[in-house]
């Protein structure tokens, strides 16, 4: 009983930690891969993290749409296999924004590391 509730709490916290970084993850992937479509992004994240991190559909598309409305991403449409596919890619503004966000994220990771795992000097 105890263990079970503990596990639940942990996974909830866990997802919240990742939540704030979702847009940065998406932008980083687009920076590396040029243009991607929604499903491809979910699969790519799964592949890189070996299934540890799964971006849910319900979170990914709102994040993409927000970034698009902010002018960070732009879209292209292509006809693939009987259907229209919507590709996202970084705009010029998005590319410089990505650099900022990644630097911010790295700084965050560094600070967390020194708090969680202080070096004894």
């Amino acid at each position: 009983m105890y263990i079970c509730s503990d596990v639940n709490r942990f996974s909830m916290k866990n997802s919240q930690l990742y939540k704030g970084s979702l847009t940065t993850i998406v932008m980083k992937l687009l920076e590396e891969n040029g243009r991607m479509y929604g499903y491809e992004i979910t699969q790519k994240v799964k592949e890189i993290t070996k299934g540890e991190l799964k971006i849910t559909e319900g979170a990914l598309y709102p994040a993409l749409h927000k970034l698009e409305a902010e002018g960070v991403l732009e879209v292209e449409i292509e006809n693939v296999d009987n259907r229209l596919r919507k590709y996202y890619k970084l705009t010029e503004k998005g590319t410089s924004e990505t650099i900022n966000r990644l630097a911010e994220l790295e700084e965050f990771i560094k600070n967390m590391q020194s708090i969680v795992n202080p070096k004894l000097t």
Binding site: Q43, G58, L84, R85
Partner: protein, 233 residues
């Protein structure tokens, strides 16, 4: 194995059944579901199309596509507000600002001359409000007619043609119209009223005439598929 054209059509129908009204969102979700179903077939070729679809739909959670639709709406509303603001800004930069300032000056002069008949100022605010409502009604009607012709709904288009959440904007002039009284107002106040009248007037012009007239450009820019779909009809 790839999905057939009929199955893609079934996916469109499925999104409509789950309250996704807008073609732009339908298209994206259809592609997503199609990819996911094809992926499932690779692992389990015996799975039926409907079974695979249900499995994928469950991944969207208890609210289905609702979240995606809602957030898309708020993102595009923001985009629309930005469009209005950008247009408004052009009236406050060279060269249009000359016209804007002169208009404010004229209104200021008129109000000052008509101090005693303050109902005229009230009337101006009221006229702005009424013309706004009429304008929106006309836009909505026109859009409905057009939607009937080609059957596809685009979220940004719905926002541009009357669906806009601009109730807040109209509240302010209503308050002005109600609370203005025929007193001797300070020149500063009169200038403020003139400024607000012009800003409201301009915003109305932008929302009712300018942006709808440029709608095709905005839609093509937001939806690359807009041209494809309209062209194919």
């Amino acid at each position: 194995m790839k999905l057939s054209a009929e199955q893609i059509e079934r996916l469109y129908q499925f999104t409509r059944q789950h309250y996704v009204e807008y073609y732009d969102l339908q298209t994206e979700l259809v592609d997503h579901l199609a990819n996911a179903i094809e992926e499932q077939w690779q692992q389990n070729p015996k799975l039926s199309f409907e079974e695979a679809l249900q499995i994928e739909f469950k991944k969207f959670g208890v609210f289905g596509f609702m979240d995606v639709v809602e957030q898309r709406q708020s993102a595009l509303n923001k985009k629309y507000n930005k469009l209005v603001l950008n247009e408004l800004k052009t009236f406050f930069s060279v060269p249009k600002i000359i016209g804007t300032i002169s208009a404010i000056g004229i209104i200021f002069y008129l109000i000052k001359q008509l101090q005693e008949g303050f109902w005229i100022v009230q009337g101006m605010f009221l006229a702005l409000i009424l013309s706004y409502f009429f304008g929106i009604l006309i836009l909505i009607r026109r859009n409905k007619k057009r939607n009937k012709q080609n059957g596809k709904k685009w979220l940004l288009k719905e926002i541009i043609f009357g669906y806009s959440s601009s109730a807040g904007l109209i509240n302010l002039p209503i308050q002005f119209a109600i609370h203005l009284k025929g007193e001797n107002y300070h020149d500063g106040f009169l200038l403020l009223f003139s400024f607000l009248l012009i800003v409201f007037g301009l915003t109305e012009y932008i929302m009712l005439i300018l942006i709808p007239s440029k709608a095709e450009d905005f839609l093509k820019e937001t939806y690359p598929e807009y041209q494809i779909s309209v062209g194919s009809l």
